[in-house]
Subunit: 272 residues, 4 copies
């Protein structure tokens, strides 16, 4: 077990770096993964920009977002986003919270985010919106109280993403790699939707296409191809800082160990 956890910590730190390198997060935003052996715990970095997260920064927390081992490290203020989603959704093994410039215009204008290309279908047929003002009035637009986290998780329902009015988004997934994949490609879809809206009338995916495209996109085969690509980009971007960058090792191309991808198994013949 310790070796597996060490590997997961390393994977989670790489996931942090990829999200930073692909412009999903900047100084703010975070990603977590459920503990592979104890579903009542999750792993997340201490209070730190994703770009800088090292395996040694990663802490273990209960679903009430309390550190399992006493620590004097500072914690993210919005931990309940993660804890409350894990409580409400046993099928979820990874959660990302971000304020990407790709999705913020949707959060600011209330425009519906919809799949306009195959990989965007990973958002699912419906992306609900949650507005802190409805239930909690004027706040600092952070989800710091358990009640706020629960309310947001309720809005998420059985979807894979919820937009937070004036604030950002929360993305859920069956696995860490899937969570990174979904987060990045929904941002790409949002960018394209924005450009397309400025150009003319949208011709979005049909309900049937969304379902088929999502199923295809979320196979380990497809996800690992993208992961290998992001890892290479990261390696190039991180060259200057040497030691902490993931080398372009063959293992980056491997699908995640079965332990970490929960029930979402590989479906043999899928190709992209």
């Amino acid at each position: 077990m310790p070796d597996k956890l060490a590997e997961l910590r390393r994977e989670l730190s790489i996931a942090n770096h990829i999200l930073a390198n692909e412009d999903v997060v900047d100084a703010f935003g975070h990603i977590s993964v459920r503990h592979p052996e104890d579903s009542d715990r999750y792993l997340i970095s201490r209070h730190r920009a994703a770009e800088l997260v090292e395996p040694s920064d990663i802490l273990e927390l209960t679903l009430d977002s309390v550190p399992v081992r006493k620590t004097d490290q500072r914690l993210y203020s919005e931990l309940v986003i993660h804890g409350e989603v894990y409580k409400a959704r046993p099928d979820v093994y990874s959660v990302c919270h971000h304020h990407s410039p790709s999705i913020m215009p949707f959060c600011i204008t209330g425009t519906s985010l919809i799949p306009v290309m195959p990989l965007g279908a990973t958002m699912g047929p419906n992306v609900p919106v949650w507005d802190s003002r409805d239930e909690f009035g004027d706040t600092e637009l952070l989800i710091t109280k358990p009640a706020e986290g629960r309310s947001m998780a309720k809005a998420l329902g059985d979807c894979w993403m919820v937009l937070l009015a004036r604030h950002g988004a929360t993305v859920a997934a069956h696995s860490l790699h899937e969570c990174v994949f979904r987060s990045i490609y929904i941002c790409r879809n949002a960018d394209l939707q924005m450009r397309a809206m400025a150009m003319g009338k949208l011709g979005p995916l049909s309900k049937g296409e969304i379902e088929k495209c999502a199923a295809h996109s979320l196979t380990p085969r497809t996800i690992s191809r993208a992961w290998e690509y992001w890892a290479r980009r990261l390696e190039k971007a991180d060259y200057a800082t040497g030691g902490h960058s993931p080398k372009s090792r063959p293992e980056h191309a491997r699908p995640e160990p079965a332990k970490f991808i929960s029930s979402h198994g590989e479906t043999g013949g899928n190709k992209r």
Copy 2:
């Protein structure tokens, strides 16, 4: 022959890297080249992001998209795009399939892509649109079946590019270098068309200008100037990863060996 094929494999891997570095492809999208000695075969990478393709990843396939030599490598799912275009168009020696953010807004809104600057004329006077829904209903928006590939190739007709509704594009060319050139500059044209549409009424190229601009742009002289430029940019971007980057060698500036550019010969006095 083996030396020539080795050289072509190397060129094809560089073409992959250039397309990635110039934002035509990301984790997805691929480019192929017809076998220079056997027009019933083509070469393409195994299932892998273009950014990472090495000469040793490149496989030889029949026009039915079956590997010539048995392999346990994973293959791209949309190989029929390449095979069916090569079948339908004996004049085509290279095919690129991509989902560049530059052209996606056109695929999403159904806006016509038209030449608005000289190098954009390489798209030809007409870019048809193919919608998988018309003939095949709700799919995963991938062109994986021979019938789908044939249908798309038929829509391409004798043009050089076909837009795929909600999906991407397929580009054809007389040679590998021409295919890269056309793919990149049509993306640049698409970006400019989008910006110009937001600013005012388009004043596009006339029919006569399109013809003259395309003829000039597609001479080896012009293409090799651009190729040398992309290779230098690649060299800078790939510095971190050392071994696999194409060095800025003089040979990058040379036109392609005659074998690889098919019937499209150099026309002496052209200049840009």
Copy 3:
């Protein structure tokens, strides 16, 4: 004292590099800091692009923008922007003047800049506009005369930013780090406001949300997390030039020494 000033000069040169690396300034634009021991002086670089400012370039000036020690170095022409704001606002310890492409469209069209996301609330509830033409007629659009500086400082009033019609912006803050933080995140807010305006009707922050978000965002805890992130990005970008880049040292993550942050103390339990 000499050691403290040397450290402040180093911090100010890093602040210059961060603003350049984050696209707030280019060849033009500058940032200053009030002298921590003598509130009638301030520190700023000699006439030089922010990207290149070294600790040894930094001069000490009186609030009349006269160098404390005779120098034959060239000075920025718009020094009075800094001197006059320090005179009018004893609570201000750092001033930044820039022409970022993010805010220029607001300066050109007269569109009101408003907080549309939490970190944008650092601009405060109101960003006034100053037009040199009103009082001074046709000028070279530079604020070079004390009367112009005073007029601009008067327009700033007790706000944290003033837009300069057709010209740029001036940002004020309690500390150097806060000034960098505010400058950068207002630019990000401006970008998002622009995108959102192109997409639909803005749903901006309420008055109460602005107040709460600004208070939270400007705590040392939040600012130092962003500073550590920018310093890492800088380190990567500056790799080529070796000696002058700030290494990713732990001290970058530390809050500013109390001396440099004036009255704006840390409020214990804040988290982001």
Copy 4:
């Protein structure tokens, strides 16, 4: 004299690299400088992307665009752009021809380019438009014949920039550094004008402001500050390719030798 010419060749190759690095030119576009000792000649690179131009690539041509010394190097096809402007404008010492994405939307829609910020005033109060179609009908949209060059130079008149419909732009200046400065900052102005037009009604510079801003911007003091900045950026971008990048040497910050800046002398007290 040989040493001075060698130095000018080196400066011209750096100017080429800067224009490429700042996105004014890509594989296409070129810049020339009039011979400092013989006003009937000019210097320009052989047929090559600006990014790759070395001092040894630079040739000497008569104003009829014929190489002074016989050469078997390929030449740019649009040399007459340079030669004909030098003939028509004895005050011009440097010419740049480019197709930057910043200005192309103006060339495509016929929208007037106007100064919306101080440095944009370097375009002058009026930027005429030349359309090859008016006089020459359908062409390959290249200016290759002396008559075409003369017609374009006539349209330029006594202005500093002329837009070429569907094609690009030609920029003129008193010196090489001024030409780079004007080319880059007009592109920045074009970007801002485009963004501002999408946001609201333009509030552009007045006639008096244009005159004063242009005069101030084009002093050696201001230009050399920007040049030092671009040289540093180039140094960082070119790190990978080592030998050919201009090191961040102090001389980059010096104003151009008087010989190369023609009649446009430094006006003592200007500051920015």
